[in-house]
């Protein structure tokens, strides 16, 4: 475990060095993403100015929701940036590099890239959480701990889901459309109040598109401790990570490499 952690730290450091080679580009992408998120959130501010609540969810809940989702997504894709382009890595035979080195392939490939704009998501998520804390007036050490746990759960489900869907490339070949749609679906649905959905739609958000584990469930847990919710978040995280690992390594047996000329960025 310590061996892998030391390796991961070295890999993340190299990612950061690579991203920082072009400082202006890094900062532009980061600030651009923060602005993008802020503009998107303006819609909810206007909405809640007219309607105070939707089925029990108010503006403060939305700040908590965006806090968890943006922080989780930002941290997850900054540390495991290849989770969103695993499909093309498989299809173009770029797993060769990772397979020729003495490290677990999946961990190595996922952590070998940091997305600069994800740093913007991460900072925006923290700011959103800070605003939510100020508006709710409920700051405490336990709240911070719940937020950290909620973000960890969101990261695990997001990275697990991305990996799982993109690993289908081993079977279906070029799956860029499927992976793009899955990516958009989980991000979009995780940013809506869960109370908008019921019945089959709600079931889908806990299974096929597990957006509830990324947004609503952890956001509710941050506001108030609930052991049942903590168990659900933990179970979702373990389940999707385990599924991702299982599907990826099953698919790896079908890997056919490739002869395309490659560059390590």
């Amino acid at each position: 475990m310590i061996r892998h952690l030391s390796f991961l730290m070295a890999l993340w450091k190299t990612n950061l060095l690579s991203a920082m080679e072009y400082r202006i580009s890094f900062l532009t992408q980061m600030i651009g993403m923060m602005l993008n998120n802020a503009i998107y959130f303006v819609f909810w501010i206007i909405f809640f100015a007219r309607f105070e609540q939707i089925n029990g969810w108010g503006l403060v809940d939305m700040f908590f929701l965006f806090g968890v989702v943006a922080t989780g997504f930002g941290a997850g894709t900054f540390l495991f940036g290849n989770s969103v382009r695993l499909s093309s890595i498989i299809a173009q035979g770029q797993l060769d590099y990772y397979l020729s080195l003495p490290r677990p392939v999946l961990l190595h490939v996922l952590a070998s890239r940091s997305i600069a704009s994800s740093a913007g998501d991460f900072v925006y998520g923290l700011l959103s959480f800070a605003v939510a804390v100020v508006f709710s007036g409920a700051f405490s050490g336990l709240l911070l701990l719940r937020f950290a746990l909620a973000c960890l759960g969101a990261i695990a489900v997001l990275i697990g889901f991305f990996t799982l869907v993109q690993s289908l490339t081993f079977w279906i070949g070029n799956s860029s459309l499927l992976t793009t749609n899955a990516f958009n679906a989980i991000i979009t649905f995780s940013l809506y109040p869960i109370t908008l959905f019921d019945g089959t739609a709600k079931l889908l958000l806990f299974t096929i598109i597990p957006a509830a584990f990324v947004g609503a469930l952890p956001a509710e847990f941050v506001r108030q401790f609930d052991l049942g919710q903590l168990i659900q978040i933990s179970a979702g995280a373990v389940l999707f990570l385990a599924l991702a690992v299982l599907i990826f390594y099953r698919g790896l047996r079908r890997y056919e490499s490739g002869s395309a000329i490659q560059v390590r960025m």
């Binding site: 072009y22 003495p102 677990p104 490499s257 960025m265």
Partner: protein
């Protein structure tokens, strides 16, 4: 016990076939046709520890597929292989600590960072202790003459400089075997020569065995004592490089110049005239059918000699001959 032993190794791929145009695409959509391609067809060979073995063949011959199986990247369809006692596709991680690999078309250095940053990352990947890693980097930098290049971003290095850094990176953990897949691809003559010299030096200094694939016969001629020639996934020749040249280098080319004019019907028995000019001629003969001595005597008696050059075909010509024979046998 050989460092690498391969027995009846096979690898097949399934590839989709599609006729050209929209109609072909639509047909492939509803009723795809698959073709089995035999990339490697039951090859067997062994390589001793510390040996420099050349694995040569044209594009698509199965060289890279074999190397990828031996590094654990690909699973074979059937057959057996052992590298330093490990089965590559079952014990990939343990094997990777013992071998180094360089793929000419797949750089391992981070493009935007100086090579030294990748070296330190590789130190962590291969679990080399920090002080030992620093000593090793200093040693390899000197051996590969890359001291001045280490802190330059890789994107700013020439291809030859980058390839020397690539090979140095693959030797950081002191591997027992180095698998080089087309390391000289795209390099100019000078860069190729420098790369060959450094590989030879590391083989002499540390006894690292080298399995080298290339479609450049010059790499094999300069580096390897033994060669395996592969075509269409099958081994078509295996022996010492010297034996290869002895066996196939029987044709001699002669370029002769005289101080006086030659008769237009100038000829010698058993010699094929390629070009006859007023003061010189180019010709060739098979030394097995026509001994060298009467040819040289005949040239001397034809007039006052100004210059004469006798040359052999290049190893590339030899290999072309072997491929052609293999093709003819297959046909």
């Amino acid at each position: 016990m050989p460092a690498i032993s391969v027995s009846n190794l096979r690898k097949t791929f399934q590839t989709k076939r599609k006729a050209a145009g929209i109609r072909g695409s639509l047909r492939a959509l509803w009723r795809p046709t698959w073709q089995t391609v035999d990339a490697v067809r039951g090859i067997s060979f062994a390589m001793q520890e510390g040996e420099l073995l050349g694995f040569i063949g044209p594009n698509g011959a199965g060289k890279s597929t074999t190397i990828k199986i031996l590094t654990g990247i690909l699973h074979p369809s059937s057959g057996e292989a052992s590298v330093l006692g490990y089965v590559p596709w079952r014990q990939r991680q343990a094997l990777a600590f013992q071998i180094g690999s360089v793929f000419g078309q797949r750089p391992q250095l981070w493009y935007h960072l100086p090579a030294v940053d990748t070296f330190y990352l590789f130190g962590k990947i291969y679990e080399v202790e920090d002080a030992a890693l620093r000593r090793r980097i200093a040693f390899l930098a000197e051996a590969f003459e890359i001291e001045d290049l280490l802190e330059t971003p890789v994107r700013k290095l020439s291809l030859g400089q980058r390839m020397r850094c690539e090979v140095a990176a693959s030797l950081l953990h002191k591997p027992r075997i180095l698998l080089l897949d087309e390391p000289s691809i795209g390099l100019d003559v000078v860069a190729k020569q420098r790369l060959r010299e450094t590989i030879q030096r590391m083989n002499a200094l540390e006894g690292v065995g080298v399995l080298l694939t290339s479609h450049d016969a010059g790499d094999i001629e300069a580096l390897c004592k033994r060669v395996i020639i592969i075509n269409h996934g099958e081994i078509v020749y295996r022996d010492k490089v010297s034996a290869l040249k002895r066996r196939y280098l029987t044709v001699k080319y002669v370029d002769v110049r005289y101080n006086e004019q030659l008769p237009p019907d100038f000829s010698l028995p058993g010699v094929e005239m390629l070009k006859v000019g007023r003061y010189g001629a180019k010709m060739r003969f098979d030394a097995r059918a026509t001994p060298v001595e009467p040819v040289i005597s005949g040239l001397a008696s034809a007039g006052s000699l100004a210059d004469v050059t006798v040359s052999e075909p290049s190893l590339e010509d030899v290999i072309r001959t072997i491929y052609a024979r293999a093709e003819a046998e297959n046909a």
